[in-house]
């Protein structure tokens, strides 16, 4: 068996980010932080995709996480990055737990469309609620870290550092989870639920657990996105946001817990370049690049690494 170097790789990546980011230009720090936020959501989608489920509405939890973080600032003047992210995660996890009772019953297209429908309900509610800023959303307080308000030119770095640490912990935990019996059950659930049941396990319970984990990760990402961008609006729950997450999931592949972050970063880079080169047709560039990946790397970007190891 191949030795598993994922934890060591994660440590190296974290160290590299923490060490290099103070010297990197601000826009790359921003790009990286947003990539981590999206990567967290995609990490959750990857867990679901491994058992054959595609959630077309993961933006629901991304948005819930962001609004939970935003409301915490608005109502209680909390601005600590860690608190906001973890609050986003907690609220999204609770929402995922409740909705999981419904969604864990459904598979394939029904699961996908039902999750899409629920996210669009949230979008509709947010658009109509004037106290939450309606379609304009509202601004988030400037971030602080552990009660300290850092100098302006350090804010972005500290948010990135906090995000990188939390994402590192999340990736490690998910990596460990995927190796537990419950985590390993994913391909079995995807292949044959009857057999899973007759081996003595409940596919529905397993999916419920995975669904809550995915929701929590999306909430964490949402909380981070809110503090990074400094503004939240209902578009965070819109179906195009969900579509973007699925786009990244397919781009990245499900081979490793590192893949979602890599995918999100590549997505961010392509998006930025495309926006710069052709502001009016940037979606076309993005779409074409996904097409190329699907054609030449059907298992996603991550297969670049596994392929080399296999040869």
């Amino acid at each position: 068996m191949r030795r598993d170097r994922t934890p060591q790789t994660l440590v190296l990546i974290l160290a590299a980010i923490l060490a290099a980011a103070p010297f990197a230009p601000q826009w790359t720090v921003f790009l990286l932080t947003v990539a981590i936020a999206k990567g967290l959501v995609v990490l959750g989608l990857m867990i679901l995709l491994r058992c054959g489920l595609v959630s077309f509405g993961q933006a629901l939890y991304y948005c819930i996480g962001a609004y939970a973080a935003g409301m915490l600032g608005r109502l209680f003047q909390v601005s600590d990055v860690f608190t906001l992210m973890l609050a986003g995660m907690a609220v999204a996890a609770v929402a995922g737990f409740v909705l999981g009772f419904l969604l864990a019953r459904y598979r394939s297209i029904f699961f996908g469309l039902l999750s899409l429908a629920i996210s669009m309900i949230l979008y509709g509610l947010l658009i109509k609620s004037e106290t939450l800023g309606s379609s304009d959303g509202f601004n988030i307080l400037p971030s602080t870290l552990l009660g300290v308000r850092p100098p302006d030119n350090w804010v972005r770095y500290l948010v990135l550092a906090a995000a990188a640490v939390l994402a590192f912990v999340a990736a490690l935990l998910v990596h460990r989870y995927l190796k537990t019996p419950l985590g390993r059950l994913a391909p079995a659930i995807k292949d044959n639920e009857i057999r899973v049941e007759y081996m003595g396990a409940s596919a529905r319970n397993a999916i419920h657990v995975k669904y809550v984990i995915a929701a929590a990760l999306a909430g964490l990402g949402g909380g981070l996105a809110a503090t990074t961008v400094g503004h939240i609006d209902p578009d965070m729950a819109y179906w195009t946001t969900s579509g973007e997450f699925i786009f990244i999931t397919i781009l990245a592949g499900t081979g490793s817990v590192i893949a979602p972050f890599l995918g999100a970063l590549v997505f961010g880079v392509i998006q930025s370049i495309a926006f710069d080169v052709s502001p009016n047709t940037w979606q076309m560039v993005l779409g074409s690049s996904l097409l190329v990946v699907i054609l030449f790397l059907p298992s996603g970007l991550w297969s670049l690494f596994t392929r080399r190891k296999a040869s």
């Binding site: 989870y177 537990t180 059950l185 292949d191 044959n192 009857i194 003595g200 396990a201």
Partner: protein, 269 residues
């Protein structure tokens, strides 16, 4: 000997079709029971009721003195009643070895082992060996070692059948229900499969119920025969007696021929 499984007055209908009508049978520990009958006679319905896939309209099922009638399939499986399938139910995209590992994973999980907070590699309960070793040993016992790293969906029919049965062994079943273990398998392979299954099962000490259409296989391996017809048990005896029973001969053994004769006679008249 004490009954390990006791079915009392099981009834099941699907609309106008009666699939089980007052099925009563006590299965003794460590016995090997053959279930025979034409298609639609109620054999698989009987298995489906025992394993919890179907709930009887009336009647109770007791396992080791415990009422299991209302339990879900996975709960019944956890108690030690495992089944194989007429059409193998495998994890198609996984290799034979990974299929076994998925099954062992469930056993570990149900025992609360190998979880998120545990350290080191746990031993599989009942086998007292690490997971990978258990998988390889069972594959070897069923003669599947050569197919270890091949995907389940590309395996030949007989091998899929064996793997389907091998998968039930990870949980150390106390009762094993085999639904047509030799269907879709060539005549020569039938006895090989049954020999292999029975020797593996005997080594583990499980009670076996198997559905079978080949009367030669039945008389060779079964100690007792339950003959089903029209949702009822029409004979319950050792094979030598049951297969000579006039009703069994008429409705089960020579069932199809009999019906053809009848149809031809009608046409002639």
């Amino acid at each position: 000997m004490a009954a390990i499984l006791d079915a009392q007055g099981l009834n099941k209908s699907f609309g106008a079709v009666t699939a089980a009508s007052d099925i009563t049978a006590a299965i003794e520990r460590d016995s090997v029971v053959g279930l025979i009958g034409t298609n639609g006679a109620g054999k698989t319905t009987f298995i489906n009721m025992i394993t919890g896939y179907l709930k009887p309209d009336r009647g109770r099922i007791h396992y080791e003195g415990r009422d299991i009638t209302a339990l879900a399939p996975r709960e019944i499986t956890r108690l030690g009643i495992c089944r194989s399938f007429q059409i193998p139910q495998l994890y198609a995209s996984l290799t034979a070895f990974e299929n076994m590992m998925a099954g062992i994973g469930v056993v570990l999980q149900n025992a609360g082992l190998g979880g998120f907070f545990s350290r080191g590699e746990p031993l599989v309960p009942g086998h007292n060996l690490p997971a990978e070793e258990v998988a390889d040993r069972i594959l070897e016992r069923f003669g599947l070692s050569d197919y270890r790293d091949r995907n389940a969906q590309v395996l030949p029919g007989g091998v899929r059948k064996l793997l389907d049965i091998a998968l039930t062994m990870v949980a150390k079943p106390k009762i094993l229900l085999l639904d047509e273990p030799t269907s879709g398998v060539s005549a020569e392979e039938k006895f090989t499969i049954m020999e292999m299954v029975m020797s593996a099962v005997r080594a583990e000490g499980a009670t076996v119920l198997f559905v079978e259409h080949d009367m030669e296989v039945v008389s060779r391996f079964a100690e007792r025969v339950l003959a089903f017809y029209d949702g009822r048990i029409i004979a319950d005896a050792p094979p030598a007696v049951a297969l000579e029973d006039p009703e069994v001969k008429r409705f089960v053994v020579g069932g199809e021929l009999h019906r053809i004769d009848e149809a031809q006679a009608k046409r002639r008249a």
